[in-house]
């Protein structure tokens, strides 16, 4: 079974600082990779996803993530954060090729990011 590890539970930074959130997964085969965001009081939203091809993936709101297959990592980055980026961020993986019976996502523990104005 697959598992996902997010290195930091809490990150506090100031506006305009750069953000990098670590994500490592454990799975013996090929995976699809996702980053979700949950803003305070809102539902989970998809930030970006890696399916195949270019390992550098760009998502919404200036976020990007890089898939490094040799390191089983999919780290999320943003060069300059804003107060509105305060949220909880979740990394998730789904095994490639399992299409029927659920397409199960496995999530990491989440990272709470607080951006101070």
């Amino acid at each position: 079974a697959q598992s996902v590890s997010q290195h930091n539970h809490h990150v506090i930074l100031s506006e305009a600082a750069s953000l990098e959130l670590g994500c490592n997964y454990s799975y013996g085969g090929t995976v699809n990779l996702f980053w979700y965001v949950q803003y305070p009081g809102q539902h989970l939203q998809l930030l970006l996803k890696y399916f195949s091809g270019d390992p550098l993936v760009k998502g919404i709101k200036g976020f990007e993530a890089e898939f490094i297959k040799s390191k089983f990592s999919f780290n999320l980055r943003k060069p300059s954060v804003q107060w509105s980026d305060t949220a909880e961020y979740f990394c998730a993986v789904m095994p490639w090729g399992i299409k029927a019976a659920g397409n199960k996502l496995t999530f990491g523990g989440g990272t709470r990011v607080l951006v101070k104005p």
């Binding site: 996803k49 090729g97 659920g102 523990g109 989440g110």
Partner: protein, 119 residues
């Protein structure tokens, strides 16, 4: 846009009560999921369903059951609520995709969550 609607935003129940959490999606998705979200543990899959009357256990099914009598509705049932089931419960849906490219395009759609407190 796909909408996944969870009937209650907040619930408070007593230990031993039978609890029903309801989820409805309006885009004819085959797959539906129930997760619970706890601080530091992220989202953990309780049960999922890929068709009417079909259900599969997730990673933490103990103490829960589900019902899917209609395609658009997926109910989570706590047969006898306990305090360790106090949590945020999230419902999600996705289409039954044929290819991974389709899946990558659609992903999951989540509801707003039900925060359940068992006292």
């Amino acid at each position: 846009d796909v909408k996944v609607t969870q009937s209650s935003r907040y619930l408070v129940k007593r230990t031993g009560e039978k609890v029903f959490l309801e989820c409805v999606q309006d885009m004819d998705h085959e797959n539906m999921f129930w997760y619970r979200q706890d601080p530091g543990l992220g989202l953990r899959l309780i049960y999922f369903s890929y068709d009417v009357k079909m259900k599969e256990k997730g990673d933490i099914p103990e103490g829960y059951s589900v019902s899917r009598e209609k395609k658009e509705r997926f109910s989570l049932i706590l047969e006898s609520a306990s305090t360790n089931q106090t949590s945020m419960y999230l419902c999600a849906s996705s289409p039954l995709t044929i290819t991974d490219r389709e899946l990558a395009n659609y992903g999951y759609t989540f509801g707003s969550g039900t925060r359940l407190t068992v006292v």
